[in-house]
């Protein structure tokens, strides 16, 4: 859907040239939710603004649905932009217009007739769950509701791509989750390709299929969200993963667990996105004569299933414990006996 090749953006300032985006190449498939994560200053904001040419790239090419964006004339670019919706951190609604008229604005730009606008706006208000609020002004809405208006507005012209510029960064955690749910819902219902940038790994974990990690204008790591969670290669990626998972080895140190639980075996289980083995613990206690004692851990859900690490203690007859471990090894859950500190 989107093919980006050798994309660079250089800002010339008085003292120096800043390479905000540096020789960046990415492939984003149709219907995918693609997350770009990075700390502030990593260039992710510039990157997403290049995708609809709010910033003009210094070099490189951007292909959206077979159309080369970088070479478009102003008039053609305006038409292309109608097929790329965008939502913003601070919503950027027109305060002088009602919810209804805000959502109608892109339709006015696209030259849709009044009757059709009316119909489409009503559909969109329904879709984002704001029924009955059409006549309100943005100042009368909460942050979450404002972002819903932003989403409805971005979807008005049936875009192929939705760009989300830190869309949940100004919202509280609960509202963030409801907006993310809405985005997933839209992604599944409309098959819309979504590109989002964020500094919160939580957002990536919750809704993205693919993730790219940006640092100093470059993509330093990319891939399926689960793979990146599982085997983060770069230090910056590890930091982001720890943001969501905590660092189990550092937390409540392993040594403490070993000191407190001397009998049996300490076992580390690593869940890697399989939904079939989620009943593993009850399975074990049913099939084998072992006591399973949960000591420490965190499991979280991604779009591709559960992911996380758990420390358990197996107590009981040695051969029975051994059989239980062999059983786990036959599943997709990774297991490590007596892990090192």
């Amino acid at each position: 859907m989107i093919t980006i090749k050798g994309l660079s953006k250089i800002f010339h300032t008085k003292d120096q040239d800043v390479r905000a985006v540096d020789d960046l190449s990415l492939n984003i498939n149709k219907g995918e939710i693609y997350g770009v994560i990075g700390y502030s200053g990593a260039g992710k904001s510039t990157f997403i603004r290049l995708l609809n040419r709010l910033e003009d790239p210094t070099e490189g090419s951007i292909l959206v649905d077979e159309q080369e964006l970088t070479s478009l004339s102003k008039g053609k670019l305006r038409l292309a932009r109608q097929e790329i919706g965008m939502i913003f951190q601070h919503f950027n609604l027109l305060w002088s217009r009602t919810v209804h008229d805000n959502i109608a604005f892109p339709l006015e730009i696209a030259g849709v007739s009044k009757a059709e606008r009316q119909k489409r706006v009503d559909e969109l208000i329904e879709l984002v769950g704001l029924k009955g609020r059409g006549g309100s002004y943005p100042s009368q809405l909460s942050g979450g509701q404002k972002q819903r208006v932003g989403i409805a507005r971005a979807l008005a012209n049936n875009p192929k791509v939705l760009l989300c510029d830190e869309a949940t960064s100004a919202l509280d955690p609960e509202t963030t989750d409801s907006i993310l749910d809405l985005l997933v819902d839209i992604n599944e219902k409309l098959g819309l390709t979504i590109v989002l940038i964020t500094h919160e790994m939580h957002v990536i974990r919750k809704i993205c299929h693919q993730v790219a990690v940006m640092e100093e204008g470059k993509v330093v790591e990319k891939g399926e969200v689960l793979d990146v969670f599982l085997h983060p290669k770069k230090p910056v990626t590890k930091k982001f993963v720890d943001q969501v998972m905590g660092d189990p080895e550092k937390e409540t140190s392993l040594q403490l667990i070993k000191d407190n639980y001397q009998s049996g075996e300490i076992i580390r289980l690593h869940f890697v996105g399989e939904s079939t083995n989620q009943a593993l613990i009850s399975d074990l206690s049913r099939k084998f004569e072992v006591d399973v004692n949960i000591l420490h851990g965190k499991i979280t859900q991604t779009q591709k299933g559960a992911y996380g690490t758990m420390f358990v203690q197996f107590d009981g007859d040695r051969t029975e414990v051994q059989r239980a471990i062999e059983y786990i090894e036959s599943t997709s859950v990774e297991v490590e006996v007596n892990p090192h500190v």
Partner: protein, 222 residues
Amino acid sequence: MFNQWFPNVRMEDMITATNETLYMTLVSVAGTFVLGLLLGLLLYLTGPGGLWANKTLNWITASVVNIFRAIPFIILILLLFPFTDFLLGTIRGPQAALPALIIGGAPFYARLVEIALKEVDKGVVEAAKSMGAKYSTIIFKVLLPESMPALISGITVTAIALIGYTAVAGAIGSGGLGDFAYFYGFQRSNFDVVFICTILIILIVFIFQFIGDAISRKLDKR
């Protein structure tokens, strides 16, 4: 009672003078609004980071605005005599004051327009761009509506300045309350006339301010 306190005040003269002041004010406010809006938009759009960012054009516009704002109004009227004469065929009466009023008021209002437009959230303009809006759409459907309360407060402030200017224009015989207060009041030592003219001007100022505030408040949905 009234005749005893204000022996020299004749009602029909007062009404004529008030009408002339209102006429000069209303027409010059309308003219100033249009011309000031154009100049203000030009200042904003050609300014740094504007939609038509253009250093030369911005410098020229800013210079014109600054020069006309720098000239004291009484001198501006005198300087514009040839222009007014060419345009209207006379340099006396309420109509003859209009070119000077508008040319004096518009640059002042243009700066207020520029400030009002600068207050419009850049993000909203960016959002409109991301939807594929043309510049004209951005100007008429984003910039102007979003800055409307400030544009209205600005024209209210300008209108009150213009009411003051109409009185100054009286010095060259434009008619109106200022003219009347000076020639029939002050020069003939009829201070009751000066007093009543002052009261009437204050009243007009209050009414303009009240209407301006009411409209601005009604439009502001923030």
